[in-house]
């Protein structure tokens, strides 16, 4: 497979941006400066990065409650993301959606989603739309292992397969559905096994190796673009932090956590780049510093932005009750 040095470096930059964004979000949440909940993507960066490195801006993604990484990998703007987390008017959803509802239709980001399993069928809709309009767009549907017990997962795979839709289902299997280990909620170990029931390819990859994810995603995306239909890719990965910020994670064995920390995807790619002379230590340091500055700038933008006015609470909603409320 052709994978240029520039692409590898770009993927490092993306993973690092996600890591730094999430690390800052954890700090800000702990300080009480972010309202609501945040579900952080730290540890899983290789999945969104390796997949989205194969996408065009016009392609679609659907995301989850753990969506910041997907949005960043698809090109989301950190300023508007932080502003949304802060509940500011300049945020992606005018400060009314928060962490779990970030969307950017211009970049094909069809939305993070607070409902587990709600993205599957949106992705099928996007795939159907692309096929109907005759474009070469694809839609990547990100989801966790827990959501594959939802009916929507099965409905989506079935329909995408029957109509050979350009949808790539990417399961981020981090072993836990909230606090429940996968072995306690599924009679299978590999979600990819479920693909065979819908007559589509299902593969398992190391979700902590961005190069492995990139390779599998490239094959699946090329396949979807050429009209051969959907694929299910299961990425075995791990979240370094709790299900949500504040989760004490007493359900995980510290030894297990430690083992996965040793497989940190960013450290692995960093070592690969150094071993193969793609970059020197000082080059990586420079990238890291640039990203740190970008994050600080985005936070400042968010902090300096105004909160939405009270009247905005009844804007951009569907019901006629709005008029009564206004009165």
């Amino acid at each position: 497979m052709d994978l240029s040095n520039e692409k590898v470096i770009q993927m490092y930059r993306t993973m690092k941006r996600i890591r730094e964004f999430e690390s800052k979000a954890a700090e800000l949440f702990a300080e009480g400066r972010i309202p609501g909940f945040v579900h952080l993507y730290i540890g899983e960066e290789a999945v969104a990065t390796g997949v989205c490195a194969n996408l065009k801006e016009s392609d679609y993604i659907t995301s989850t409650h753990r969506g910041h990484g997907h949005i960043i990998a698809k090109g989301g703007d950190l300023k508007y993301m932080f502003a949304e987390l802060f509940g500011k008017e300049t945020g992606y959803c005018k400060g009314k959606g928060g962490s779990m509802h970030i969307a950017d239709a211009d970049r094909g980001i069809l939305g993070a989603n607070g409902i587990v399993g709600a993205g599957h069928n949106i992705a099928v809709g996007a795939g159907l739309s692309a096929k109907y309009r005759g474009t070469d767009q694809v839609c990547v549907c990100f989801f966790g292992d827990g959501s594959t017990n939802q009916g929507t997962f099965h409905e989506a795979l079935n329909m995408a397969s029957i109509w050979k839709l350009p949808v790539i289902f990417v399961c981020e299997n981090n072993l836990y559905g909230i606090s429940m280990h996968q072995s306690r909620h599924q009679a299978i170990q590999d979600v990819a096994d479920r693909a065979v029931a819908y007559n589509i390819p299902g593969v398992v990859v190391d979700g902590n190796d961005v190069l492995a994810v990139y390779e599998a995603a490239k094959e699946a995306i090329d396949r979807a673009r050429s009209g051969q239909g959907p694929t299910l890719i299961e990425c075995k990965t791990y979240r370094h932090r709790g299900h949500f910020e504040g989760d004490p994670t007493i359900y995980r064995d510290p030894e297990e956590v430690n083992e996965w920390l040793q497989k940190d995807p960013i450290i692995r790619l960093r070592e690969f780049m150094l071993d193969n002379n793609l970059l020197a230590e000082e080059d990586i340091k420079k990238i890291d510093e640039e990203i740190a500055a970008e994050i600080e700038e985005a936070i400042k933008f968010a902090e300096d932005s105004p909160f939405p006015p009270v009247e905005a609470a009844v804007e951009d909603i569907y019901t006629d009750i709005v008029e009564e409320v206004r009165r």
């Binding site: 590999d190 593969v203 990859v205 390779e215 599998a216 694929t231 890719i233 193969n276």
Partner: protein, 331 residues
């Protein structure tokens, strides 16, 4: 004790080759079924104890539970008491423990990669490789019932093991004089730099293939040799071929449903223990039995040999024929 061991790899048969080729899908519940058939037929052929490697899918526990519920299980079946990591080290450690426990035959469910892991630590115990992987050259497509019978014949000493087993060849990889890894079937020298999704399928990156066995009625990279030169399992030689060089073209089944036209030179026979030495001029990777495994760097001293130090393989049909001649099946 007439004991056998079973290692079933829950991760075999699921890699990217389901996407880049049309490789077989073997889900883990079918592996549980195969293990049940092996246990029952081994039990029916005189085995009194079975050891099973623990794994993340609990294949052994599920098989035991089902057989207890159906009241078919009459013998002791024990899951090894070992902490598992969910990686290849489980297979390597389980092999060692089973040999220490004195199993008379080891049954391995997986592909070439799983059997390669077993081969890293197995010594004298006869091995039966059962294909539940991807490109299966080393393990064979065998019905679990037949496997259990053959394991029973070996474990009960119903016939001469030496007549029904054969020591296989293996490929040994050395760096700076140190043995660093092995392969059972093929070693591919690739210009790719990274392990990535492990499987290898892109011909254009490949410079050389070294095989311990090769046949056109096979699958995978060994067939690049096998379509020009047959190297039998029992031949006392291997072979080497340069890829993307030379004037000859062959069509070879490098993956399930994938016939590639490949430019090659003539294959060269490698005698046992003959060293192939090279100093790479680029950073690349060696794929062993179809999986990218061993990175190498410019200037390293690489040495590759075919040796006769592979596993002691049970020739299933031969061992059952010998058992039949000895009246083993008469009750």
């Amino acid at each position: 004790m007439k004991a056998i061991g079973i290692i079933a790899n829950p991760a075999s048969g699921k890699d990217i080759r389901r996407l880049v080729s049309h490789a077989t899908v073997v889900d883990n519940n079918e592996k549980v079924n195969i293990v049940k058939r092996i246990i029952l037929s081994a039990q029916g052929c005189g085995v009194d104890r079975v050891f099973i490697m623990p794994d993340t899918f609990l294949i052994g526990y599920k098989a035991i539970e089902d057989l207890k519920i159906s009241k078919e299980l009459k013998i002791d079946v024990e899951i090894l008491n070992m902490k598992i990591k969910g990686n290849v080290m489980d297979t390597i450690r389980a092999t060692k423990i089973m040999e220490e426990k004195g199993v008379k035959c080891l049954v391995v469910l997986g592909g070439d990669g799983t059997n390669r892991a077993v081969a890293k630590s197995i010594t004298t115990t006869p091995l039966i490789g059962v294909s539940t992987g991807t490109n299966n050259v080393y393990p064979e497509m065998l019905e679990g019932t037949v496997v259990g019978m053959a394991a029973g014949v070996v474990a009960t000493g119903a016939c001469s093991i030496d007549q029904g087993c054969k020591r296989d060849k293996r490929i040994e990889i050395f760096k700076d004089g140190q043995l660093i890894d092995i392969a059972l079937v093929d070693c591919v020298i690739s210009r790719q730099k990274y392990v990535g999704s492990k499987a290898i399928w892109n011909i254009k990156d490949i410079d050389m293939v070294i095989v311990s066995r090769a046949h056109p009625a096979s699958i995978g990279f060994s067939t690049i040799v096998g379509t020009s030169l047959i190297v039998g399992k029992d031949d006392d030689f291997g072979a080497l071929i340069h890829v993307n060089s030379g004037n000859k073209k062959v069509r070879a089944p490098i993956a399930a449903g994938t016939i590639e036209e490949i430019r090659v030179d003539e294959p060269r026979i490698l005698k046992l223990d003959e060293a192939v030495c090279f100093k790479p001029t680029y950073n690349g990777i060696m794929a062993l039995d179809g999986e990218r495994e061993v990175p190498f760097k410019v200037g390293e001293n690489i040495e590759i040999k075919i040796t006769s130090h592979g596993p002691y393989r049970v020739i299933v049909d031969r061992i059952l024929e010998l058992a039949q001649k000895n009246g083993f099946f008469e009750t």
